[in-house]
Symmetry: C2
Subunit: 448 residues, 2 copies
């Protein structure tokens, strides 16, 4: 038979079993954290009518959308999760109760030019809170709390959530009488972290024709973020929008304090803008402190109209998106993923030493009832191969069951970490394995 060379498409992450276990554990931790904040799971289709997915239209992203050939409907694969949410909320409006808090962790597709660290199929983990007509500011404060607990649940510790408010930015533009399109200015301001103050000022005066004084004062406003409320109060009373944004930032900070989020992990940063015009209130960007070069690992903000392509109803919301595949890739590249016991497919490899397997099979059933993950090794291989199977898979315990053991109702357990080998009563040693596995599970971390 002619063979086909097996391959996986470039830009598609396909993990080894031990890495997949960590990825899945991360997803599970996120799900549990999102649930504590009362987000309900959704799982929308990956495929939609093209006109639905492209409703927002335009831009680079549209060129990256995968379209499909089947039947007479133009189909497309989703390239982010927000449009699916907008469709869902508009479609099922009458069945939902607002505020509607949902999370979705799912794959999205972008036919980008293939390059290292960029993915064509990747997971996004999104949370959003959608209001019907209005939405209280507390929701904008809860989002960074979820971000904080989410990353902590993944085992990350050195990250910082930068928080700003688009009303403050719009307000300062009005105060400084900057007439350029806010979108244009924000797009340049967004580069501050990358290009620094000087180049930013030059871009603003050259490209956007800001007066030198305007540009200077704007940049000084944006970068003076050690005591943000000092600089904010300086401009107080000059512009309604600005004052509203300032009050919102203050409320967010107060709520975060009450929520117990340590101030080491977030920062009001007046230079954070987010590129999209879409955002209208609080905005967020989260960075790894030791790896700012990888950019924001989670971002989002408050918007006024989730679903205006689909409905006249005003549906404000606030949400964030974690690029989970990219985050995982970074952690892997930085060699930060745990290689501890937890990646093994089994807690116990059970090696029968007799032809009659019935005792081994019964023991496995018993151990599984005690929630141990057990594999019986029944292939006819050399003893050495069997033990090395446990080794290769990082299985922490090997249990031998020979005639002597069966006669005396004993088992022999080899602790693969310490090398220690013990023969004693099956009940006692099994209970001991359960204890040790429970302790291992409690202390295991996904991140080194």
């Amino acid at each position: 038979m002619k063979k086909i060379k097996p391959r996986t498409l470039s830009g598609f992450m396909e993990l080894s079993p031990s890495k997949q276990v960590i990825f899945d554990a991360m997803v599970q931790n996120l799900r549990e954290t999102f649930a504590l904040y009362s987000f309900t799971p959704l799982d929308t289709p990956l495929m939609e009518a093209a006109e639905i997915l492209l409703a927002k239209g335009g831009g680079e992203t549209e060129k990256q959308v995968y379209t499909l050939n089947k039947g007479d409907t133009d189909l497309a694969l989703r390239y982010e999760l927000t449009t699916s949410l907008a469709k869902y909320v508009a479609l099922y409006y009458n069945d939902l109760t607002f505020p509607f808090r949902r999370y979705e962790i799912g794959k999205v597709y972008r036919g980008e030019r293939s390059q290292r660290g960029r993915f064509r199929e990747f997971y996004q983990a999104d949370i959003d809170i959608i209001g019907d007509g209005s939405l209280d500011i507390l929701n904008e404060a809860e989002i960074p709390a979820v971000i904080y607990h989410s990353f902590m649940s993944l085992g990350l510790k050195d990250f910082i959530i930068r928080i700003n408010n688009r009303k403050v930015l719009s307000g300062i533009f009005e105060i400084l009488r900057i007439k350029s399109s806010i979108a244009d200015v924000l797009r340049i301001v967004d580069k501050l972290g990358k290009i620094g103050v000087k180049k930013l000022t030059a871009l603003l005066t050259n490209d956007l024709k800001l007066q030198k004084e305007q540009a200077g004062e704007l940049v000084s406003f944006l970068t003076f973020s050690e005591e943000p409320f000092d600089v904010l109060n300086k401009y107080k009373g000059q512009n309604e929008l600005f004052d509203e944004g300032t009050r919102e930032l203050q409320a967010v900070q107060n709520h975060l304090t009450a929520l117990g989020i340590p101030s080491t992990h977030y920062k009001i940063d007046l230079s954070i803008a987010r590129g999209l015009d879409y955002y209208t209130g609080t905005v967020y960007e989260t960075y790894l402190v030791d790896h700012p070069e990888v950019g924001a690992i989670c971002s989002g903000g408050r918007y006024d109209n989730l679903a205006d392509f689909f409905t006249d109803r005003k549906m404000p919301g606030v949400g964030i998106s974690i690029g989970l595949t990219r985050l995982f890739y970074i952690l892997q590249e930085q060699d930060l993923l745990s290689n501890s016991y937890l990646v093994s497919p089994a807690d116990v490899l059970l090696i029968p030493m007799t032809d009659d397997l019935s005792h081994a099979v019964k023991l496995a059933a018993l151990m599984r009832e005690m929630k141990l993950r057990v594999q019986i090794y029944s292939e006819s291989k050399k003893f050495k191969v069997k033990v090395s199977y446990a080794d290769k898979h990082n299985i922490p315990f090997v249990v031998f069951l020979g005639e002597d053991e069966i006669k005396s109702n004993n088992i022999t357990v080899k602790n693969m970490v310490t090398g220690e080998q013990t023969t004693a009563s099956a009940a006692m040693l099994t209970a001991g394995i359960v204890d040790k596995i429970t302790a291992l599970r409690k202390n295991m971390s996904l991140i080194k």
Copy 2:
């Protein structure tokens, strides 16, 4: 702005939040059950080069494959999970250790003609054990044990796993000197449950030109399944393949007994064949006892060559697939899904009765630390709307926090199930909620 009518493609299941919670819980239960049997998770791409996915080629299924437009590679969406596994095992052969036991729960795509209860996007939950060159019969016995525990974990009780062995079938054909293609005969035999003995015999004599005696004896063999080993022993010693199949069936039955799987839930049924030529040993089909009309809800079997499109290595395996979306659809249609508390997005709806939210926010943080799922209702709505929000979402506890409560360090808790309302110390009542939620979670069932 011109509005686009929101819609979801037909054949794509999109669940309400309360149903999604149950679906996700089912997936989680399956993952935990598969893990107890030491299956490791995989998550392969949904998209592959078309030549990879269509390597097996031919048949109705190929027509249903979704192909894609991007770039110069012909792409396709997977229509089942086995080809992805075959590719994975062939591609990463050197990094894997065999037997390789993996599960994958993921979406697959088939552009079928749209009809009620048929899906174009659906979840399959697959487990497979892949050997390198050989694979012990114990693996074929463990599969029905996993099926049993999987369905029990979903809350299903009335199901039966039918087990047969293709060697027995091939053997009896040889013994009865039936020359027709085994595939043709098996395809007809597969219809036994649907068309009955008479029509089956007629089909065998008319369509396949079997002699009347051959057809009669074959049908009698296949349907005499009350004491399968009685009929199997009758033919013993006449055909090597038949005898091997009989020994394997006996081994599977013995192992299942040792594994503690109750004989009420499985049955050696000599008429089970599975349509595919692919299977070479034990085969399985699982039915809902009260709903045989929906067909098999899980099926699979032993095969000799997983990856022969990709490699010369002999890689025998055994596996099953659960059509999870279809199963969920059936349970929903039969009104078997639980509507208990567990579908709610929160354990506690916290309603602040003061303008200053800081006490409520602190209380929420405290409750979340105790692993309660808490939502603070901070929208300015009428009191009635707030309580009805809890009602609509099935949230079991509402906590009110007014000035009186704050002063006395109390909270007021309304149990939404009993209607009972209590005011007492925050610490005491919170502990009480934790206890009640823990009890509810322990006793909750996904199925009515």
